[in-house]
Amino acid sequence: MNGFDTWALSLGVFLPLVGAIAISGIPKLKVQAVKVIAVLASGAALVVSIIVLARFNFGQGTRHFQFVVNKSWIETIGARYHMGVDGIGLPLFVLTTLLTFLCVVYSLKTRPNPDTPRGFFALILLLETGMAGTFVSLDLVLFFIFWELVLVPMYFLIAIWGSERKEYSALKFFLYTLFGSIFMLLGFLAIYFRSHDPVTGQHTFDMIALQGQHLGSPAFLNLVFAGLFLGFAIKVPMWPFHTWLPDAHGDAPTVGSVLLAGILLKMGTYGFVRIALPLLPSAAHTWAPYIGGLAVIAILYGALCCLAQTDIKRLIAFSSVGHMGFVMLGISTLTQTGINAAIFGMVAHGVITGMLFFLAGSLYERFHTRQIDSIGPGLMQIMPRMGGILAFAAIASLGLPGLAGFWGEVFSLLAAFNPAAGLSTGLFRTYMVLGGVGTVLTAGYMLWLIQRLNLGKATEARLGERLDDVRPVEWIAWSPLLAGIVALGFYPGAVLKITDAAVGGLTRLFT
């Protein structure tokens, strides 16, 4: 199995791409073949990631990169084909393959208009390659290629299969992210030209080799951090760079929203944990209070915006701003608890919000509206199972203890009580209190959502439509997520056991 260990990650990343290419070669009318290849390709990637998970060396081993492949790629600039996973990347890699597979399964029966399955599945698979590659790259150039690779497929997913102002939203998403990510590239290059490879003596893009190098004066490092911050913060998105998100989420097709919220946003927070913090620890220390401040604003602002939404998808989108605020607050404490909480929060948010967007999509498909007041009241009478799942996911999202959403938020706040050495304890405790207010507001809008949708009495006309309740294919696509919400809630150790040692290795830089 040694050969497998070397190439497992490459397989997981590129099998979807192979599937996408195969799909483009199939004649337009053979829809069945397209579906089979899409399921096979994304399923194979999922199997690979599960095998990686099973063969992963837990415990203290999570600090080290495993399944490493390190080959020469572009000699002139010293960029290498270097991949590997540790405890930080692994949960997100598995989440990516799982969510994409579920999206493919969901799309077997439910696809947005226009119904052109060939392009649709090909783009989803291409997107998967970009997302999965981002979480396993250990070379800055390789990372950047995968990071940018998600832009084009997501753009077309929104622009072709979206709703309302789809072209506007798609373009806004694209240009916003591009703007941030090229500044991030400038930051990478600035790091590169101050670095030296311990083996060859040349400059290096290698994330591992770059750790602990002396790269320049504090002023220089802060400037470089600013470049990386812009790239990552727009992707997260942190307030005030979030304005692309409600539009993109609102107008994207269902699986587009699921993947956007479930995976793409995590690329930003992952970037902070994987690149910005370990490569520029001193600058991260300087920036941490500001990042924490923006995170708390995002929590409160997201919650307040949610209270004002009438559109269910925009509401979930704004709730993402708030939840990612908790993740960023955890990261900004620079403590082991905080960053563990952040990664847990990323996974939990991916599962819960992915579920919520699936629900919003299925409701839209049945009711042809996203207005909360038009769907409700009385969803429990019209389709009781759907309503039940919605209530469950919404309660998980507001952070009820025992479900997945709870741990990320509570540990994040807990970490803010006692931030890393050198950070102002008073300031972070203020953040904690404000974040706590945010959780109350979150509970408020989520419960209000349940009240407006589920409760009350449905109109006769609605009852007369005899709409489908949850369909078999939806059960198949959703049950892993529902199980995940419960499992992570009852046994958060499942994720924390993977992340803890790796995070410990990272936070030692800040003690």
């Binding site: 600039i77 832009l151 622009a159 072709i160 703007f179 090229i182 030209f193």
Partner: protein, 486 residues
Amino acid sequence: MSSIDLHASLPEIILTGALMLILFIDLFLPSERKSWNGPIAMAGVAGSMVALFTLVGERRVTFAGMFVLDAYALLFKFLFLAIALVVILISTNYLEDTIRDSQGEFYFLLLTSFLGMMLMASARDLLMLFVSLELVSAPGFLVAGFRKRDARSNEAAIKFFLFGVLSTAVMLFGMSLIYGVTRSTNLSQIATALQHSSHDPLVFASILLILAGFAFKVSAVPFHFWAPDTYEGSPIPVAAFLSVASKAAGFAGMLSLMFVGFVHQTQVWAPGFAILAVLTMTIGNVVALQQTNIVRLLAYSSIAQAGYILLPFAVVKGGSPAVLRDAFAACLTYILIYSFMNIGAFAVVIGVSRKRPTNLISDYEGLMQSEPGLALAMAFFLISLAGIPPLAGFWAKFFVFSAAIHGNAAWLGAIMVVNSVIGAYYYLTVASKMILRPARDTSPIGVPYPIVVAIALSLIVVVGVGIYPNFFQHFSPRSTLIAFLR
């Protein structure tokens, strides 16, 4: 040095033979067989390329040091011949449809211009640079006006001509001043003579004057006014030729001039290039936003792209040899990649214009439905021009950014970031119009196979280099031209 090395100039000799042959044979070809000129021209280019292969790895200096054949020259000559092949491929059907009786002259002029480019790549002497620049431009003036009865084509030619002549005169004045100061026209001797006179105002003035001539050739702002009108009015293959080959020739001359002749004057010219680059990319991009005609859009886009190529010149100010090398390599890589993605886009435009002759961007709406292959190819070229990985255009931009950061010119990099985003906006808008909008005219276009071949060749380069960027790096051209810098 006294004897003339014929082998070194064999590619040029073969090309000259081919263009003379065309001129001669064309006299005897009846109207319906004028299209034979195309294959003859192609054979000439292919023969020249074969001769070029025999020179790979050589370094020859002949014609009293005026003509140098090294890896740098070889690389550019291969590029020019490859572009010549593609231009001939995309011209054949276009000429048959529009100006069939003058095909002989067209190919004659085209090859003459390419001959000028081949010489430009080898020119290491002011006189030689001047002669080859004229040889590139003069046939260009004529082919731009080749649709003789079209007023816009006439306008295209006359504008191009007036701008060209004016800027050449200015450049020649600058060259004469340099000769007066250094008593030499040889670039390396000029460099030696100017080694210690970096602040001489006369040198400063003459560099600026010479720069004007080349700035016109690469359509840098403020010498760009001819480009959009000329591109729009010329036959489209000529627009493709001007925006790619002729521009690359301008950069070839500019590179050897700046990095060999005036290499000790970076303090003088780098700030000038900074202004030129920023103006060129910004104005090109901003004006491109408002275009409704695809050829004009590509014209302004090619102005903006020239701005990106100019940027590395601006970062070498007082930099180390390593910075100089990086900047040089960035320019070169950008030119190579730009040539293929831009000529690919033009090839698609020519294909579409056969049935939609107005060339409006709105003609491209719904192209995906009637011609999915064309639409996808165009989308690839546009996304590559926007610089999105994993297509070749990304690496072009990557190396420019890299040079900017290496030269401590992050502010120039930041300006280019903003410009890239503006560029992405209009490239993506066109791409999504082709794919998203309902088609106005769903009649099939029926692209002739020479154009298909041209598109396929460009596409292979754009995708191939995007995935495997080492491909261009293997040529290691930077090792020769600026070797003495180390």
